[in-house]
């Protein structure tokens, strides 16, 4: 791994650290599992409804629409369940990321679960500070580089035919600059977390300082790494979501099979996430080496003559 590039290291690590991926998968499976009970209660009415057969066949437009429209109460509860599950899952992901990074930087493969938990707990407080700093930075740079120019372009587009030059420029600006700023700010935060996990920094401030140093002059490379894993992640997601929809089970065993296949998909997604982190850790190492002070070594070295010893006072 030491001689691998960031991409190779990531791919290798994604395949090697399957247990780590399983731990990360818990951040998705545990909240979803907890949501299962209220979801079951809210969807129970479909079995004693005119829509049972149609839903077993596949999608039924009126079943879902009338559920939304005629049962706003349960639907509100469902949205609450969705929102709270998402919040819990995100927090859990945030928590576990520290431990996963720590495991990756140490290179020790087992015991995974206990180690990740312990390291996650230890890194949680500085990570939280780094997270707060990340949110502030994201709002600031987005406002400055994306929202403000977009507002200016909108002003320029006023009283002109819609979708003209300025509107097009504005849309392009928001998409391109938005993605770029998002990636750069997020990656700096990610590298700060790597610094915390590696023990190079003990607080958010120092971690950010190190991350800034590592990114400087290599922004394109690190964005490339992130984009690569974004594409991989989306491809996995699309593949398994399509597979899940195509399965369209008609019986209990089919539903069980669907759940199993989808969970495999989420584990594979988690492996890709481990791959991303491993790539980032390797990138960080490469940058550390690149930024280390260079000793020029022209041979033969010229060694200055020893200074004469001071005269001994009489």
């Amino acid at each position: 791994m030491k001689n691998d590039g960031a991409y190779t290291a990531g791919l290798r690590s994604a395949l090697a650290n399957r247990r780590l991926a399983l731990v990360l998968w818990l951040a998705v499976a545990v909240p979803a599992g907890l949501a299962c009970t209220p979801l079951g209660a809210l969807t129970r009415l479909f079995d004693a409804s005119p829509f049972r057969d149609a839903l077993l066949e596949g999608w039924d437009s009126w079943a879902i629409l009338s559920w939304f429209i005629l049962h706003p109460g349960p639907w509100r509860v469902m949205r609450l369940v969705f929102a709270s599950t998402l919040a819990a899952g995100l927090l859990l992901q945030f928590f576990l990321t520290g431990g996963v990074l720590s495991a990756l930087t140490s290179g020790i493969r087992r015991p995974v679960f206990r180690r990740v938990m312990a390291e996650s707990a230890a890194l949680f407080k500085p990570s939280l500070w780094a997270g707060a700093r990340y949110l502030v930075a994201l709002a600031l740079w987005m406002g400055l580089f994306v929202a403000a120019p977009a507002r200016l372009f909108a002003k320029l587009a006023e009283n002109r035919p819609p979708n003209g030059f300025w509107t097009g420029t504005r849309e392009l600006w928001v998409v391109v600059l938005g993605i770029l700023v998002y990636y750069l700010v997020s990656l700096k935060f990610d590298l700060a977390r790597v610094a915390l996990a590696r023990g190079e920094a003990t607080n958010a401030r120092d971690a950010y300082r190190i991350a800034k140093r590592r990114m400087k002059g290599a922004r394109g490379r690190v964005v490339g790494v992130a984009l690569f894993w974004t594409v991989v992640g989306i491809a996995i997601q699309a593949l398994f979501t399509n597979l899940g929809v195509k399965m369209n089970p008609h019986a209990g065993t089919g539903v069980f099979g669907l759940v199993v296949v989808r969970q495999i998909g989420f584990v594979v997604s988690a492996m890709a996430r481990v791959g991303f982190w491993a790539s980032l850790v390797r990138f960080d190492e490469i940058r550390r080496d690149e930024l280390a002070p260079k000793f020029a070594a022209p041979l033969p070295w010229e060694i200055p003559p020893a200074e004469p010893a001071p005269p001994v006072p009489a």
């Binding site: 998705v28 299962c36 999608w59 009126w62 469902m78 899952g89 209990g252």
Partner: protein, 690 residues
Amino acid sequence: MRRIVTAALVVASGLCGGGTARALDAPRKIVDYDIKVALDPEKKLFDGRETLRWTNPADVPVGELKFHLYWNAFRNNLSTFMKESGGQLRGDKADLSDGWGFIDVTSMAWDGRDLTSGFRFESPDDGNPDDRTVLSVSLPRPVAPGETISLDIAWKAKAPKVFARSGYVRDFFFVGQWYPKIGVLEPKGRRRRAESGWNCHQYHANSEFYADWGDYRVEITLPEKFVVASAGALANETRTGGKKTLTYVQKQIHDFAWTTDPRYVVRESVFDPAKDVPKEEIERASRILGRPPDELMKGFHPVKLSFYMQPDHLSQWTRYEDAQKWALGWFGLWAFPYPYAQVSVIDPPEDGLGSGGMEYQTLYTAGTFKWLARWPLTGLRAQEGVVVHEFGHGYWYGLLASNEFEESWMDEGINSFTEAVMMDRRYRYVAEFPFGVGFTDENTQRTIVAAPDFDPIVTRAWQYSTTGSYGRNSYPRAATVVEQIRRLAGEETFWRAFRRYAERWRFDHPTSEDFLDEMRTLGLPNFEPLARKTFYGTGEVDFRVLRADSERRDGFTGFDDAGKNVNFEPGKKRKEPKEKDDTRPYETVVVVARAGDLPLPVDVLLTFENGETYRTTWDATAKWLRLKTTYASRLAQVALDPDGKIILDREPFNNVRNVGRVKGASASAKVRAYAMHLVEIALSSFWSLP
């Protein structure tokens, strides 16, 4: 290549124009307009003159005339329109800083006699002294029954900033309801009137239009750079001094709108019935309507289609075209063939969408956004929906010229019904999302059953309790009731009556009762309560299963007449036989009920565990029905309306009750699994981001 085909078909269109012309010559004609108008695009001013020939259709002399001056709705904030709308309509907001408009009649003469001294503004609907949308003109002598008079009228008008269908934005103008338009003098018997009289309402926020049939000749003068589309066919064009004058003519219409914008990019096409009406649709219509395909296709002719596109929407014109051709074919089969030679589809700019989605004869405004042409929004069939809907108005407001002031549902409701039928048949879903998820047009309209109703469907447009109630009752509620009639009647019976209605009332002015009379011929049980309580009331219905029990019974248990114990031993608990050895029959009791006041006939289906079923139709005139039976098998499920015929049912989820545990696959488990995966997909999506 397209141009060559187009030219050939236009020639063909001219050849079959005989049929079209005959159709247009036949019906009633009350008015003739000869209008000359000049547009000053800088000042947004219109300088117009018109010669109006009007025939008194009534059986009594008429001493005064009434005119609509619609653009005075935008004259100031005291007009009835602005008071009712508060400056907001159809999701659009009026520009109250400098967006005002007006129309002033500067002169009116009859045989050289000036009529301006007899001018008086009226507010027949609300008595608003500040409203200037209805002008009454006293005549020096009454017009005799059947007499035709000719009036010379001059007027000046300023377009409002685009709002509520008409107006300008930058160089774009949509010019609808723009000239002094005579009201409708309804003779005795027309629209079931007891006495002859004027029908000329003020312009209301919720109302649309009503006018007499006639021929139009319109000359428009404006700077050369402007591209013009109008409700007429271009008959002449002259150019002088940087300006051009375009002359348009159109027979047998009751409204004339036009539009201009230097940015329009025109795309042309031709509806060729031989190519554009799908064979399977002709066969289906032939089977259901009971008419041979040749007879159904008689009267079809090529129609010139012009699409006036904004440059930023140009790529979307083919979506308009596809929907337009489908609609022309569908209406030709299920109502009657389109009688005019052309259709113009106007694509307004995104900052002029206040004029979008609006119908006029032979011309209508569609409307789209640039983003709707891009994934993942391409599945939202807004472009197709607006074309099918607005072109449909060309039938229900255009060719069957109902009074939209008084019976808005006859246009909007029937049109929403046909829109849903057409959209769902052609595109399946009106909104389609990735992974096979989508919603049908009919289903989205049907969601109104959830909302309580406070107004009957047949209500004057400005007299609904709220604008929301006008929208709900005129559009989806009316459409859903018509769909309910279709489901109760069955395809053949319904569509034959529907086509009879359309054919009987084309180039005429039908009323709600005319439509209902045609539906009465279907002989549906309980039709009168349905009509009375929906069109003229706020009726609703919820069918539900109140009770479903199925238990083993011993037959006789207790003391018989001789005092002997039968089937029990005192002081001893009886031992139930094992299930497999138990041969006692099941006593089943089912109670189904109707909440609400619509007694629609509904099917009740009892399914027993051995697979046997019992089905009956309950007329639902009583509030509930009890079914009892003793049978060898246990009841598994009772289902009300198993075929989903009662779409007015407010709560379909209580239509089924299972007795005991559901056997077989669980829809609930499936929905739950997908819902759970949705949460997981959302959560794991963050893993794809840095």
